[in-house]
Every structure is written in C-alpha cells, then in structure tokens.
Symmetry: D2
Subunit: 434 residues, 4 copies
C-alpha cells in the first residue's frame, strides 16, 4: 500500500537534532516512540461499489529525535474563546510533561487569550511550574483567563521574540486556530525558530478531524441533568413544557448527546436540520400541541444555532468572528405560548438557558483523560519541531493535522449517524418536522 501522506511540514524549522530525554525513561523495545512515517487513515467505512479517496494523517506521539533543546526551550501557553471543561487539565499536563519528562524549565501562561500577547492590554504573563498547576484540574475554567477575538499577528510575534519563546501552544476553537495560523505564517515569514501548536477546544465538538474534543463529555453530563430538571418541571404542572436551550452554535452534538443520555427529551432541534413551525401535522407547533394534549407534558431541547432560517436578516458577528445567532430559545418560548393560546390549550412553560453552568464545571473523567493525552501529544509535536498544526483525533488515534485543514471546514452532526437515529428513537419526534 502506497501511503499518500499529509505531511506535517517541518517548514522552515529543519530536522530534529537532539535525542529525546524520554529515551532514558522508556524501554528500548519498539513501540514506545512514534515514527513520522506512521499514518492513520481518514475513512473507515467502505461501500462495495466505491473506493473512497482516503485521507491519511501523520500519527502523533513522542519521537526519538527532537528539534528543541529542552534546556534552552521557553514555552508559552494561551487559552482563548469561551470557557470549556478541561482547559486547566490541558495547561497542567502540558506543564508536567514539559517539566518532568522533557526537562523544560521556562514556561509562561499568557493571560486572557490573545490579548495577553498584545502589550497594549498590559497583562503580565504568569510563570508556570508544577507547583502552580498542582490541583488546578479540579477547578473549571482556565487559570490563565480567556477572551474572544484576534490580535495583530505582527504584534504577537514581537511579544514572542521579546519573551524569547520557542513554542507557543494555542488552546482554542477554530477562530483561535486561525489566529495560530496567522502567528505561524508571521513566524515563518521571519524565519524564526518558533513552533506553533494548536490544541482544539470546542465544547460543541465541531472541529474537523477531531472526532472527540475535550469538554464535550462534561457538557453532556451537565446538560443531561438539566434535561432531567426540565422533565421534572414539565411533569410538575398540568400541560407543563420544559424548554431547554443548549450550546451548539453550528452543530447539534451536545443537544443530541444529552437527549440520548437522558432519554427525557421529546423533541430535539439542531442546526443541521431545519424545521417548520407550522403548516402540517409534523411541523413543530402542531406536533407539540398534539403531544401535549395526549401526554400532558413535553420536553423540548433546542441547540442555540437551530432554526436560524426562521429569522429574517443576520444577527451580526461576535468578537471571535463567529456568526451571531438569533435567540431561538426565547423565540420558541413565545411561538409556543402564542400558538397554544390561539388553540385554547393551557400551558405552563419553563424556559431554561443553562450555558454558564454547563461550561464552567471541571472536566469529567472522560474529558480528564482526553485532555491529558491532547496536551502530552502537543508537547511531543512541539518538541519534535512540528509547527502550524493541531492535534487531531481520528478513530481513537491522535494525529497531526495542518491548521489549514482544520479551518477549512467544520464538523457537523450527520443525520444518518447512529447518534441522530438514537435521538429520533428516544424522542419519538418526526424525522422531518415540516
């Protein structure tokens, strides 16, 4: 088999020049170190009639030869965008891996996202050391703080030079990774020996080439509890409706996952699947009314990016450059109330918007394990001199993905997937609400 590889260009940095200090820690038997030539294939499903083009990725992991001399390496870490369970775990495992295993002594956390790399804000970087990160994994949020939005790459690279940083880890979503790419390009333009390594962070689980992003499992754990609360509220009043808006700007993974985990939703609406409010028996409002009349209660889950086509015009953009969304939760609350009133059906609707409570929890076990591995893989990649990449995950394998691939497309929930079919089965909602 000929491997058509997607190489992670070492670009201007050149080849690894040092033996890894991990050699002294690990047995010499084959297998403990990954080779640059090991590949992971991108698609595992085959149809008889077709032979799909196979995407192939470089496998992540510790390398026997590394690019940076640990004794002279200075590292920066920055966390950007909205809070997400596991950020502190990532910071902690980066610090521990680099300190204890590679012997890197000089590490700094930039404060409040990319703003920390812009001296105009005056935020001093925090020195990072195992003592500083001890136990932070048990607390939600990020000890570095965060913010949305970009800063000028020229200014940020100036900061890296001033601080003599060799490796910058950028933990964030696709906006953050576009920023990381801009920094990497500026670094390359100036031919600086600085590696830029991204760690994907998306509570929505919607980054491409990353089948499971950290924070997602913790979000489902919390969202499940909220759906249980909504169910209790719905049953606690005659014709009660519990309406819950969950995160999911462009992808319905959290809404779908919480639905299947809790088994309490009767109707789950996601960005990937437009729906009609009225006009047929299977449109949202008439279907909901019928359900209410028959069963006296209902739980509705709506991802924040669902139903945007029901609004006129754009809602603008946020500081991260993401398309802002119209508030589908409040919109549905009003639509449902007015529709039921019009049809003389009494209702007691409770609307719940729990996003801050969900995103600020510490990582659950699943995410704790994921964060630890993402962080250590990122440390290995950076020390080996890989740059302009993020750590991805395909079929349970960690891989190196060029940032350009990641920013080119987002992951969406496939409505023919087992997960969505499980949603339809557990809610009993019409497959098409039109």
């Amino acid at each position: 088999m000929k491997l058509e590889t997607r190489d992670i260009a070492i670009e201007h940095l050149g080849l690894p020049q040092h033996d890894s200090p991990l050699i002294s820690l690990l047995p010499s038997e084959a297998g403990m170190f990954s080779r640059d030539t090991t590949r992971v294939i991108g698609d595992v499903v085959r149809q008889e009639e077709s032979s799909p083009e196979v995407e192939i990725f470089e496998r992540a992991g510790q390398r026997q030869r590394i690019f940076f001399d640990p004794a002279k390496t200075r590292v920066g870490i920055v966390t950007c965008g909205g809070l997400c369970p596991g950020l502190n775990n990532v910071i902690r495992s980066l610090v521990l891996e680099l300190f204890h295993r590679y012997g890197v002594d000089h590490m700094f956390g930039y404060r409040y996202g990319y703003r920390g790399l812009n001296p105009a804000y005056g935020y001093e970087p925090t020195p990072l050391h195992p003592d500083v990160v001890d136990d932070i994994e048990n607390v939600g949020g990020t000890i570095l703080g965060s913010s949305r939005g970009q800063q000028d790459a020229t200014i940020m690279v100036d900061t890296l030079i001033r601080h003599r940083i060799n490796i910058l880890f950028c933990v964030g979503g696709d906006g953050t990774q576009r920023g990381a790419q801009a920094i990497a390009h500026e670094v390359a333009r100036r031919q600086l020996p600085i590696a830029i390594v991204g760690i994907p962070k998306t509570i929505d689980n919607d980054i491409a080439y990353c089948e499971r992003s950290f924070g997602y499992a913790s979000a489902i754990d919390q969202a499940r509890r909220v759906l249980e609360a909504a169910h209790v509220e719905a049953k606690g009043a005659f014709n009660g409706i519990g309406l819950v808006k969950l995160m999911g700007r462009d992808a319905g993974f959290i809404a779908a996952g919480a639905t299947v985990a809790s088994q309490e939703s009767n109707c789950t609406l996601i960005p990937e699947l437009p729906f009609a409010l009225d006009g047929s028996d299977t449109a949202l409002l008439p279907w909901m009314k019928q359900r209410l009349v028959e069963r006296k209660h209902a739980v509705i889950v709506v991802a924040e990016g669902a139903g945007q086509s029901l609004f006129d015009g754009s809602a603008g953009q946020d500081a991260s450059g993401n398309q802002r969304h119209h508030d589908i939760g409040s919109f549905l609350e009003e639509q449902i109330k007015s529709y039921l009133k019009q049809h003389d059906v009494p209702v007691s609707l409770k609307y719940i918007d729990p996003s801050y409570i969900i995103r600020s929890v510490p990582a659950n076990s699943e995410d704790a394990i994921l964060c630890d591995q993402f962080a250590r893989m990122a440390a290995h990649a950076a020390m080996a001199g890989k740059t302009n990449l993020i750590i991805g995950m395909m079929h349970g394998q960690f891989v190196h993905v060029p940032i350009s691939m990641v920013t080119a497309r987002k992951k969406r929930l496939d409505i023919s997937s087992p997960l969505w079919r499980a949603v339809l089965a557990s809610t009993g909602q019409p497959a098409i609400m039109k």
Copy 2:
C-alpha cells in the same frame, strides 16, 4: 413549672377512640409513644435581665390512642405551590407509614394542587399504594403535579365528602396552609369527621415555627454549585463578574447558606437588609468597582426579594397571593454595567438565574431524612385526630403548630445570627451597604 400550653385543639372531632396498631410493632417500654402533654419550649436563649415569654408547643409523634379506625380511613394528599426537593419523599413516607404501619388501604393523590379538589378542572385523583410510590423519592418534583393559588373551600370540602375522605394532607407553603385553614374551618362548620394536617413546604426556609424545612438543604447544595460556576466565570475573563440570582422571596436563607457553603461570594444581598446602590464608598456600586479594580473579579449573589425598595411601585401578586417582586437580577445587571461604563472600568458580566435547575432536583440526604420524619409525624397527628395544624420543628423537636400561628408571620433571617455573621466574614462585604 407550669406549662402554658398551646394545645392543638382536637376541635369538633372528639377524643381518640382506638388503640394504635403500632402498639403491636413497638416495645412497651416508655418512650416509644408520645403523649399529648409533652411540651417543647419555643425559645432557648436567655438574657440575665429578662425572662422572655415562653412559647410552648405540643410535641409531635405517635400516640397510643388514635381517633380514626384505620380499616375505614380514606386519605387524600395534595401538593401545592412551586416545586421543592423532597415532595415525592413526603408523599412516599405518608403512604408507607399509613399502609404498612397503620393499615390504611385507601389513599388518593389529588392532582395539580388545590385544582385537583375542584371538579371544574376534571383532574382525576390518583390512587396511592406502596407500589405506586416505590422509588419516587429518587426523582425531583411531585408525582401529583402542583399549581399555585386557592380554590373555593366549599367546593373542596364537597369533593372530600364525595370521595369520603377522612384525612387530607396539604403539603405547601403559607399560601397553601391558608387554604388548608379555610378547608379546616369549612369542615368544622359542617362538623365533619375530617382532619386537615399541613406539612410545611418552603424551599426558602421561611415558614414560622419550622426551623428547618425540607428542600432547603438540597437547594443550598445546588446553589453552591452555581456559585462555584459563577466564580469560575468571573475568573475566566478580565474584570469578570458572576452575578447570581437565587431564590428567596422574603428571606435570604438560601443566599446566605449557599454563600457560606461555597465561600465564593464576595457580596450577598438579601431581602432582610436594604442596600444603597450609590452615594458612599460602602454602597453596592462603588464598593463593587473598588473590589474589581483590586482583585479583577467578583461574585455577587442576590436573593430574588432583595433590593425591592430600589423600585417604584408594586409588581403585583402571583396566583398564590404572594407579592410579586421586581426583577432585581436584571436590574442589578444593568446598573452594574452602566455604572462601570460610566467610570471607564471594563467588565465581563455573566448573569445566572438557575431557579428551575435548583428546585427540581431530588432531595439530598439531609432533606430525605427530614421529609421522612415530617411525613410520619403528620400521619401520627392525623390518625390521632389532630386537625387544623401543621407539623413544625423547634430545636430539633417536631411539634404541632396551629395553622393560624403559622400564617400569622413568616420567618426571617436574623442579621445578628451566626449564619449572617458567617456571610459577612466569608464575603468581606460591608456590614451595612449604605
């Protein structure tokens, strides 16, 4: 010592006429049965110079002689008002005590509060039996549903007669207990052999003569988690503020308890203690600005009934006859933002209103134990022919309290109490924010 007792009038029902079936279950030694003459005193603190008038209550508990013949007794249960952790525990323990220990076979749950006693709504009562209530204590809310507001006592008593009910348990807050009192008066007017026994339900913990009401501890558990989330959000952004509105219509117990339990609030506002927005260094807004400038983050907790004097005019009443409150949470959000903007202090404020999520959880251990005991005490009181009372709790002792005493005043958080002093100590806020 002469006991000036507050007798629970058996009123028109007359004296107990049957031996309790519990006699066969319990040892004959003294102590397992309570006597009507055992009293609990109402105030345990003494000052040298004064001898406070002592309130004295009849102690609750199983009696050796009972009024109703279990074989012929028919029981109704109704749950009213907002959801509160532990309602299902109360229903379950009532059913189990009456069935297994007293041998009562005929029990019914009225649906959706007092509406279930008004045939106009057409809600059929649910037969209750140990099989029906098995495991319901692990689910929040109430299997009977609830609603706010009163129904005509004449109509409700007609329903009791039609269903041949001998005992009605009314689980609810002070509005509900006023309803129970109206039913008891109508029952007495008609000289019916029906006992009306109230079980106090207030997540706010503000019912008089009930030092600890069920649901309160569970609410604090949940609210504590929300304060932790608010703290994470506050620290996650530069000059972050986490603003949390908690339950507490007229009393600040939940806000205070969650503050001390979490140790994360920097300022806690309660109905009992008015505060000024501006005008001095210790007023809310200037003080908060100073804190933000010094520490770069802050958590503020506000009970829903706090700061009402800052609004003009009344907000009306809800269906339960409670005074509606102006929305202090949103008001503070706007005030803080505009004040800080005016003083050129950047801020990232996250406002969290978690009430549905808090009140719909299952009872925690503390409340589970409390619910079980309230319910069994209520069963004992009713079987003994006590009526027009609620089960209260003074100094860890369950007591019989005439409903008229309970509806006459509400419990408030004493700002000279250890709890409030612990709030001041843990927040560091000015004792008087004026």
Copy 3:
C-alpha cells in the same frame, strides 16, 4: 429567671483588655456581639409532672472586648484522630477569621496530630496564611495530617512556649479533647497566658453537648450511596444479601441516618440496641431468613460497634485509647452464610466495608456551613481569652462547654427518638431483635 450558669472559667488568664477589631467591621446596633451573660438552656422538652433540671450554657460568639492583642498573638492548630470531612474547612476558616478579621499574622499548623507537638518526631510546623488555605476546603482529609494517641502534656506545653504560641486550637474527638484538657491543666499550672480551645470532631456524631458535629452529614451522603449499591447488589442475584458495615464505634447515628436517607436497609443494627442471633422468630438470623424467602433479597446495615456482646473477651484499645471492637461485619457475614446453609437456603452475600471512602470526602454543603461556624466561634472564644473549653451546639445555638463536661460522657442515639423510630418504620425490622 435566675440563670444558673455554667461559666466558662477564664481561669488564670484574667479579663479581656482590648477592644475587638471587629468593632470597626460591624454595625454598632445591639446583637452583632455576644455577651458573656447570654445563656442557652440545655433541655427543651417538658413533661407536665416534672420540672427537669436545666443545664445552662454560655452562648458562643464574637465579644466586644478581647483578651489577646491580635498584633502579638501567635496561633497553633492541630488536627487529631481519624479523618473526617470538613477538617480543612475548619483550618481554613480559623485562618481566615483570625487573619482578615482579627489581624492575627502568625499562625502555624502542627503536623500529624499531637505528635507534631512532640519534637521527638521531628515534624516541623507549617506556617499558615490565607494563601496556604485557599481552596483547601474542596479537598478531603487534613492538610496538616493527623495521628491517633496522646503525647506528654509537659512536652507539648514546652513546645508551645518555644514557639511562643498564645492560642492552640485542638480539632478532634473526645480522646483529643482529653489531651487538650491535659494541656490546659499544664498551662494553668504554669500560669501561662495560653488559651486552649477545642473544636469537636466526630464523624460518628457522638460528642456530648454537640447536637450536630461536622462530617456527620457528609458521611451520611456517602453511606447512602453505599446502601444504594448494596441494594443493587442484593437485587442483582437470587437471594442476594448486601451487608454493609458503617462507622459508629459507640453510637449508631451514621447507620440510622443512612438508613432513613436511603430507605434501602431492611435491618439496621447499632451499638445502643443489643440483638440476638438466634432463638426466636425476631432474632436476627431467623428473621433474615424469613425475609429472604419472602422477598428474595435483603440489605443489612451494621454499625461497627453493634453486637459486641456476641463476642467473648475484649478486643483491646487503639492508640487513641478507644476500646477496640471485634469485627462485627465479618462475623455476621459468616454467621449468616452458615445459618442459611444449615437451613438449605441459597444465598449470594456481598459484604461492603466502605469506611475509608466515606471519611475522606470533602465536606458537603451542610458540613461546610457547620465547619465555618465552629471555626469562627472557636476563634472568637480564644481571642476573648476563654480556655479549656470546646465549642458545642445546643438547639442550633453555639455554646461554650467546659472540656471536663464533654469528656465525662458520650452522646448516644436515643431509641425513642424520631430518628430511630424512622429507622424502624423504613426497615420494617422488629423493634426488639431478640
């Protein structure tokens, strides 16, 4: 009313000589400071025919005049005995109250119990400061470590003198408080200006004059989960028995509380109530067999101190001087198995001994509030120059209790109390198993 008070002797220390720094923090209105003359009565239940002798306690709380000059005060804290949820909360609130509110700068934690006061062990004290104790309340155990057993009071007082300590807080059970008393006596003998203040710690909830000790509520939360596990195990196999040994050396409060909270036990055995293994239908083994035949599963809860009369001879003492107990859990496991085998009843018994998992958790909300208050009350007492006392709690009021009263007797679960009656009702076990 003449208050026959139990004064907390200020003994050799003399009268308070300083204004409290809290005066500047608190409003001048009456009520924020407690007076030495305020009393709490000890018994709140009255029988018509008797007038019980009334125990009367000095109420705890902040005093306007204090004995120690905060600027010159040096404080030691020691935690002794078995781990208990809330120890770190107590340490933290002591440090915060003394530092932020009184202005005490010099605080030290002695390591590993009283051993830390004996230089022979070579354990250096840890300086304590708000930075050190930040967030420790979210972790179980004690940051100071603990150990069982006494050390020579002369040696310990020598250590206090060498470290120029003015106040020693001793957090521990009755063994620890006996140690504290010995230290106090030695201090008095030498006429040293050192206050010794005890904070009661007993996960078993068995210290006298302390109606609720911290750690107990958290223990019940955990024990409840274990009983649920035992119930699942019992139902998971034909004739399954889940046998759980819970803490409770001399008192059955944890076993009783977990039983009522979980409602899953079918038989709960406590030290206060001896039981027979065999010999009648209501003895443990025959009754259990009958239950198993009828219901196919059973859950049994046994406190570690239950059933000791079934063993011959003493099991000795532990390092704290507590009577060691025979292992009733393993004993019952064998007795049940052999009895059922003898009667040809198949059984699948799962024995669970979860004590380390229970006692090492962080404090739950209930205990977090309690710990904060105990600690701050202890700080107030010590600063006011009270000594040779512990902070007790009667009827929800914190009080000063001379250590001699506390070590004179232990609290036991009253089997005529509502808690035990609730156990009998929820298990359905015979009131007397003989």
Copy 4:
C-alpha cells in the same frame, strides 16, 4: 477495492422477507438505512513498509428489509455475569426500540442469567413492556438479576421453544457469549427460526472487536473517586500509603483509565505488565520505599489480575469458567508492610477494595449513550435475521461480529498505546518495574 468481508451468516434463517416498519418513520433519503454490503475496516494505522491484512466487518444498523414479522415475534432477554453499569439501559432500549419502532408486543426477561432458561431453578420470566422499564435506567444493576455460569444448551433451547421465543438477546461477557454460541449452534442444529444476538458486557473493557464497552466509563468515574480518597488517606498520615485494588481480571483498562483521570496514582500495576517485588531499584518495593522517604505518601493502584506470576499454583476457576486470581491486593499489603518494617520505615497503609461500590452504579452519560446504541443495533440485527453474532464497535462504528471471533481472543491494554504512556507520565513510575 475488493472488500474481503466477514459476512454475518444468516445461516439457516434465510433472507429477510418483510419491509421494516421503520420505513414509515424515517425519510426516504439514502443513509437512514444501513445495507448489508457496507463494511468497516479493522485497522486504521499504516506503516510505510507494510500493508497489514485488513479485517473487515459488516456495519450494523437498521435494515430496510427484515426477517421477522414484528406482529408475531416473541423476544427474550437475559443478563449474565457480574453487575455492570448500564445493564438496565440496555434492557430498556431493547424494549423501547422493539415495542415503539418495530411493533413487537411480546417480550420476556429471563431471571438470574442463564439459570432463568433452565426450568430446574423455577425462576419465572418477567413480561417486559415500556411501562416496566420506564426509569430503570436510573438504577444500577439489572432488573432481571444475573448469575455466573453456563446451563445446558439443549435445555435452554427447549425453554425457548416452549415459550415460542424468536429472538434471544444475551447480554454478557465472553463466557456469556460462549453460552450464546452454544445456544445458536443448538438452534441451527434443530433448524429453528430463532436468532441469537449477543450484546457485549465487560466492565473491564476487554472484549475483542469492541473498542469501548458499556460500564467502563462509569467504572472509571467511580474508581477515580476512590483514588482521590486513597490520596487523601495517604496524605492524612505520616508516610501514608493508599493501596487500591481495582477491577481488571486480565486487562488493565480500568486501572489505567482511573489513573489518568485522577492523576493521583504514583504506581499502577496491570495484568499486561509483570513486575518484580524486589531485587533492583526499579522493582516495586525498593522504588516505593524511596518514594515514601522522599514524599511521605504514596498511592498504589493494582488491577486484580496483576502480579499473578508472583504466586505459586493456580487459584482455580469461577462459575463463569474464568481463571480465578490470587488476591494481589492483600498480598501487596502484606509485602509492603513487612518490607518497610524490615527497613525501619514507619508506614500507615490503608487498603481499599471498592469493587461492589463501583460496579453497581447507574450508567454515566457516556455509557448511557453507548448502551442505547448497542441495544438498538442489536434489535436491528435480530429483526433482520442476523444470528450468532454480537454487536461490536470499531473506530466509532457499530459492526456485526461473529461470536466465534469474539470468543477466540480477548482485548488487552497495549503498553505502547497513548493510554499506557499517559499512565507512565502521570505516575512517574519506572516503565519497567524489574
């Protein structure tokens, strides 16, 4: 690409003959139904020099044509072996999918494992219906009960015939699946129209072709808490050691996962990696002593199947035919204590064996989702007339795996995998303890 398929032989049953009732519920667009010809490949990692033999599996999912007529189909479900989180979720989703989506009316649960299929035990099957399984997913264990061990396939098939069962779902580990295979063979021998579909259950996560089995994630959640308890205990005493035995008969997945999730273990021992007790600095006992001397505490995690080579002779087999293991936990407790005593190092060792508490919890969110999907995939496979298979999972895709493949080998933790490397990094233990 030529797909070398592993067909799931429909064997003697013949081709599907009915349109699926799901056709009316789902959109006609391609993708909602899976085809028998869709394949999933078994290995996703490629090395340049080699072209690994590719295992290829039939993808699971709903089919457009089905074999059994829902109106006439009678279904049996049996759960076998040790308890595992998620069993009730699987039962529930099987019942809901078959009832609501396929329209199957007649379903039965066999009690207590395969014994329920042997009339000699006299256990009557339980009729299953949506009402019966409502809410059972919130309770641990299995409502059907379980047992270990095989029964005679001839007798079990006789029972299926007598009950006119068309589909039997066997939920269990590899022993159970060997039993399922025996039933399938007997069914094939008699040419009966009965499908046998296995659902893999292994809390140890060690079934081949199933990259993630349900219950594993929940077990890690619980085990993580136990490791935190062990850490608290270890730090609570001078030279404290917390020694925890976790499940993992032949595979170390739970020990490894809990180690990385909690970050609290200092040494994790698994069946896949033998270790020496003594003889060099990196052997367990000398290394542990050194750690204790330096850090004063240590946490050790040992999977139950680890270190078996340290024992002489066999420990026999359990009723499921699994090799019994020597008790490595108690053995290590003794070895550590005696080694440290011999070297005059004081120690306070706490040994924790939490298996019943871990395995009896309800499924966490991760497992709840997994269970729902395994169950529905099994329903689809069975209705389509597939037999003698289990539902497997490869690279996130559900697949059909012949039982013979599953029973031929077990999954082991690859010590060159990122998970094990993360264990080494987080514990700091020697890679080879010899």
